[in-house]
């Protein structure tokens, strides 16, 4: 995507990944890791820039945790290399890498106090007693655990243990902080708070964060960029907006929230007219420049992009379908509708309840028109 560069114009604050002159801070080249011949990480290449909060997103078994362990040095790659800040990490054990990790299980040392946990890395670095003490106090303040310094981990809640793990991982001021599912074990309220705390800390310290997660919401809210991983490979790398609005495959589209997929084929004379195989309706879309269109393709439309109306909408490039409301759910801030088109295709629609009384007080089984503009159709060939 080159839009951001155009918008930024002559300003220098261009996102580094859009600036061809920027030096990547972490360079992953063709990284491969096989276990008993099975590739867990299958030829992954990626540039991450200083100060990024990069998320690696994927389902369980997609290889994201192995990738993180390769970066930390717990595993040796079968092929390929990792370069951090200009230094090739090949053959370097974890204790000689400028990375630190926050483990999913927190891996807090149970026989050490909170302060000793945080101090561990500093002591191994050979820092003096007074300096260790100051740094530990500083870190405990950062994660708001100053009153818990003398406690043992078993006397802490899960959220507090996680903050110990975070402080411990930040103690050595690593160049890169690796976070394995940092929010997975927290309840909903704590998740949101911790999420913002993490972003704040990242902002203040300027450390590059790499977060591994299976939660698309977590990835979207936290990250500057996301790599979506499947079967050991990156399926798509981009900003949260790019990935949500311009998924490059059905897999990514499906992974990121709800989406409607329409199978179809492009009109031979006009590729912006896609004839839907299931409904016969002409869907208006803008295939990306240079996109070669196969015989069978898919049009993806997010539920919130679809408008519901009683009157048939008209307009250039507007796709219109007709159906009946089969199901509706009221969520307060928004409502979800499932509409069965006359041809039998089920379409999900969500609409914001911007007024107290919805303009359309829709009922079950009510006939309704669905419509969306051309630029909301995403053409997927994979």
């Amino acid at each position: 995507m080159s839009r951001a560069v155009e918008e930024a114009g002559g300003k220098t604050s261009v996102n580094p990944w859009e600036n061809p002159a920027a030096e990547p801070f972490i360079r992953i080249e063709n990284l491969r890791k096989t276990f008993d011949g099975f590739p867990a990480v299958d030829g992954v290449s990626l540039d991450i820039y200083q100060g990024e909060l990069f998320a690696i997103l994927g389902g369980s078994g997609c290889g994201k945790s192995t990738l993180l362990r390769l970066l930390a040095g717990f595993e040796n790659p079968t092929a390929g290399k990792v370069v951090i800040d200009g230094v090739d990490m090949a053959g370097r054990p974890p204790y000689e890498r400028p990375t630190n990790m926050m483990f999913q299980s927190y891996a807090v040392f149970p026989h050490y106090t909170v302060a000793d946990n945080v101090a561990y890395g500093l002591k191994k670095e050979g820092l003096g007693k007074a300096e260790v003490k100051d740094r530990v106090a500083e870190l405990l303040e950062l994660v708001q655990l100053q009153d818990f310094a003398r406690r043992k981990p078993r006397q802490l809640s899960g959220g507090q243990q996680q903050r110990v793990a975070l402080a411990r991982a930040l103690a050595k001021r690593p160049k890169v902080l690796l976070l394995d599912e940092p929010l997975a074990a927290l309840d909903r309220n704590l998740r949101e708070r911790t999420q913002f705390e993490l972003m704040n800390i990242q902002d203040r310290l300027g450390i590059t964060f790499i977060v591994v997660t299976h939660d698309q919401e977590e990835a979207m809210t936290l990250a500057t960029r996301i790599a979506v991983m499947d079967a050991g490979r990156f399926v798509q790398v981009g900003t949260p907006t790019e990935i949500y609005e311009y998924p490059n495959s059905r897999f990514v589209a499906d992974f990121f929230g709800a989406i409607n997929l329409f199978e179809g084929r492009a009109d031979a004379s006009d590729p912006s007219r896609i004839i839907c195989a299931e409904t016969g309706v002409v869907i208006h879309a803008d295939p990306l420049a240079g996109q070669t269109l196969p015989d069978v393709l898919f049009v993806a439309v997010r539920p919130e992009k679809i408008r519901l109306s009683r009157e048939a909408p008209a307009g250039e490039g507007v796709t219109v379908m007709h159906g009946t409301v089969e199901d509706l759910a009221y969520y307060g801030n928004h409502s979800l509708y499932r509409v069965r088109t006359d041809q039998g295709k089920l379409v999900q629609v969500s609409s914001q309840n911007t007024h107290r009384s919805a303009e359309l007080a829709l009922e079950w089984n009510e006939p309704i028109h669905l419509s969306w503009p051309r630029d909301c159709s995403v053409v997927l060939t994979e």
Binding site: P94, Y95, T99, A107, K124, R154, A171, K172
Partner: protein, 303 residues
């Protein structure tokens, strides 16, 4: 009412059943441990007699209740007993240490082995128990004797010119005890090491701990409960060991078990032998109490 009726009716037999299940082992200990010990304790305060039984009765029509501390006094007067106790403790302690030094790496290796190998290796540790303990000690006698495989191997290798005396020495006793009790050290150690969260070691390495330091900082302290349990399981039976020192040891291997045996069956001085046994129980109870305290701390730590 209808809903509650059956559960109330069920509760009483259930409670009774629970009490029975919990009570039987206690009854067992009461009948077969506490009662005999009370008898031994009572004999230890009697005087020896030539007769049946070979000690004075607790109550006599003429003299009333007869209790004497002579036997205990005698234990302090004759060096033999102190030497035996101390030697037993030394042998048990050294054997425990040897078991720990040999058993720790073995338990560590098994815990770190691939899952498919672990059970095989554990089976190999337990395998000796499939043969009678006594037979295995006899086998050691054969192996350690002048014409045994050990001496033959030493001669063949040219390490010695003539057979060395191994059997009937302290060395043979150590060999026997370490060999016999090693599995009791390995199993609890394995249990704690196997439970150890591997991510803690990853975390230590990640924070700059080299493998040796990570072992000393994380693995060793966290396996302390296993070390304590294994050491107790070796030390306690080794202290009172009778078969190994009598079959493999020399005349100077004065372990308390043998002294006890001699008092009972050779000298037929039951009261003195009972005093020796009572003191031995005291010495044994101490480490058991320590062990209980440790495992209690461990349970609290796990909470």
């Amino acid at each position: 009412m209808m809903g509650r009726g059956p559960s109330v009716a069920l509760q009483r037999p259930e409670r009774l059943w629970r009490r029975t299940v919990a009570g039987v082992p206690y009854l067992w200990l009461l009948v077969f441990f506490l009662a005999p010990f009370a008898i031994v304790l009572r004999i230890s305060f009697a005087d020896p007699l030539i007769g049946q039984p070979p000690f004075t009765p607790l109550y006599d029509e003429a003299q009333g209740i007869q209790l004497t501390a002579d036997n205990y006094r005698f234990l302090t007067e004759d060096d033999l007993y102190w030497v035996s106790y101390l030697k037993s403790m030394r042998i048990a302690a050294v054997a425990t240490l040897l078991c720990l030094l040999i058993g720790y790496p073995m338990a560590y290796g098994i815990a770190r082995a691939r899952a498919v190998w672990r059970n095989v290796l554990l089976l190999l540790v337990i395998l000796p128990f499939w043969t009678s303990f006594l037979l295995r000690v006899y086998a050691w006698m054969g192996m350690l004797s002048g014409q045994g495989v050990v001496n033959k191997a030493l001669l063949a290798l040219g390490l010695v010119d003539q057979p060395v005396q191994i059997l009937y020495t302290d060395l043979a006793v150590y060999l026997g005890i370490v060999y016999t009790y090693l599995p009791f050290m390995i199993l609890p150690l394995y249990a704690t090491l196997e439970r150890l969260d591997g991510e803690l070691l990853d975390a230590a390495a990640d924070l700059g701990g080299r493998p040796r330091q990570a072992f000393l900082d994380i693995t060793l302290p966290l396996s302390a409960p296993g070390v304590v349990a294994g050491s107790m399981l070796v030390f306690i039976p080794a202290l009172g060991e009778f078969v190994i020192p009598s079959l493999l040891g020399g005349l100077d291997t004065l372990m308390i078990g043998r002294t006890l045996y001699d008092e009972f069956f050779v000298n037929r001085d039951w009261p003195l032998a009972s005093a020796v046994a009572s003191v031995l129980v005291l010495i044994l109870v101490l480490p058991i109490v320590v062990f209980q305290r440790f495992s209690q701390l461990d349970r609290e730590a796990a909470r």
